[in-house]
Amino acid sequence: MKTALAVIVAAALLPLIAGEYYVNLASQIVIFAVFAASINLLLGYGGLPTLGHAAYLGVAAYLSALLYLKLHLAHWAIAPLALAGTTLMAGVFGLIALRATGLGFLMLTLALSQVLWGTAYRWVSMTDGDNGLRGLARPAPFGLNLNEAMPFYYFVLAVGVLAVWMMARFVASPFGATLRGTRDQPRRMSALGYDVWLIRWITFVYAGFWGAVSGLLFVYYHKYIHPVSLSLANSAEGLLAVIAGGSGTLAGPLVGAAIVLLLKNWVSAYIERWNMLLGFVFVFIVVFMPEGVVPGVRRLWRRYASRA
């Protein structure tokens, strides 16, 4: 708890010492951290590896953009509609994807998100295809102007903290304990009276909801949406962030998101072949900390402390 508070305080102080570029980068990290944390609900706590989670980020972003551009609705109406629509879609996708587990689940989530990605590309009259949707604006909750980097960062940080706190409560609850049980011993859980499928479906929908929240923040940040937001690459980056940071831990996806975004945005400014570096970093993590950075660092710290 103390560590969490220290991280929040440090994050809140960041705009006071960092320039606009870094504040914007921090906003992107928080948005991506919410996205990765929602994947972690499925992968880390439910044992359900997904390669289609960008569907919820992308659909929430597209719904928000379309409601703004086509129906000219206000942001206060758009946000709940986009979240509700995307969560409903997660409910339907869950009915399909949860007919399988393991690799079958992975392939079904991938296939469903690819359908949406293809639709976003080809339905030009609605999505403007490869051009994407532009001309979007950020909301102004309670009259706050979020167009500057700093206020937008604080807005994203507030939503991010709320999201991670809600997910932390979820996994620490009795339901969270049953979810971990279905990950470790699904057959035993059925024999103990748990409806394993329903537990997984509820988690799938909940993770979809938080994926949608990250999508809203994403479209607010960029004021633009493109089919690539629905792509396999976007889903895979989220999955890699969770694995790199440490699945099944609360801090893991946040650290993983920071690693991925820093490598993508900061290191790429100095190193031309930054993709190669990203690959090396993942190989390094998998070889030396197969459980992920957060559990790996904890393990090394325990070893160091026991020797000291």
């Binding site: 609850s173 009795p174 339901f175 049953t178 470790d184 024999a191 103990l192």
Partner: protein
């Protein structure tokens, strides 16, 4: 009233019948032992009873309620509990958490998404662990306790649910003489409100504990009766001794 009534139960894997037209009836409060050589279909029978495997034909009734179409979890809520031949626990969690998870399975609080698991679940779990002599290690992770203790946790998890019918799949398998004694005492202390059906290979120990015995062979019931009836039946000797 029969606690368990099975009629014409069938299950085949590919073309190979594993359970072939099995019918049997277990009275309420009875201790029933299921024996038979390897491959006789004993564990498959348990898996059909709990719904872990779908049946090909036949019916299963629990206290006169037809449960054949019920899911595994629903059968559990109707009072059917089991242990596994291969230990199936949550190794990273403590003993008390394992048992608390069992208690939570029948509670509405299992759907609580934003609270904490109430302390009473752990208190109740420790009380159940005390029944099987494991209260001293209740806080230790499953991965750190001995095999025999894991066997007792399996039984504790089933007993925690106060089942009406308890299926024990080889509860003495792989245990030392001392551990067998402890597990046998735990099984012996189960109240008669719970009907017990047990698969066991250790005949010397298991025969003492049974009211009636069913012998399975190639997925069929070949002998059923009291201890003396089954031991005296030539079909039992043929199955076990080959003559």
């Amino acid at each position: 009233m029969a606690a368990l009534r099975i009629q014409g139960l069938k299950k085949a894997f590919g073309g190979l019948p594993a359970i072939n037209d099995v019918s049997l009836e277990v009275a309420a409060g009875e201790r029933r032992l299921i024996i038979g050589p390897n491959g006789a279909g004993k564990t498959t029978l348990f898996n059909l009873l709990t719904g872990d495997l779908p049946r090909d034909a036949g019916s299963i009734a629990l206290f006169d309620e037809e449960v054949s179409r019920f899911s595994t979890s629903r059968r559990c809520h109707r009072g059917l509990a089991r242990t596994y031949q291969i230990i199936t626990l949550f190794p990273q969690d403590t003993l008390e958490h394992n048992v608390a998870l069992s208690l939570l399975g029948l509670s509405r609080e299992r759907w609580s998404m934003f609270g904490r698991l109430p302390a009473r679940f752990y208190a109740d779990a420790r009380a159940v662990l005390a029944q099987v002599g494991l209260e001293a290690v209740a806080h230790r992770p499953i991965a750190e306790v001995a095999y025999g203790e894991k066997r007792r946790v399996e039984i504790a998890m089933a007993l925690a649910q106060k089942p009406r019918v308890l299926l024990l799949d080889e509860p003495l398998a792989g245990l030392s003489r001392e551990e067998r004694g402890k597990v046998k005492a735990v099984i012996g202390a189960i109240p008669r409100e719970t009907t017990v059906v047990m698969i066991e290979h250790d005949m010397d120990t298991a025969l003492d504990m049974a009211d009636r015995i069913t012998v399975l062979h190639y997925g069929r019931v070949i002998v059923e009766g009291t201890r003396s009836e089954v031991v005296a039946d030539p079909k039992t000797r043929e199955v076990y001794l080959g003559h």
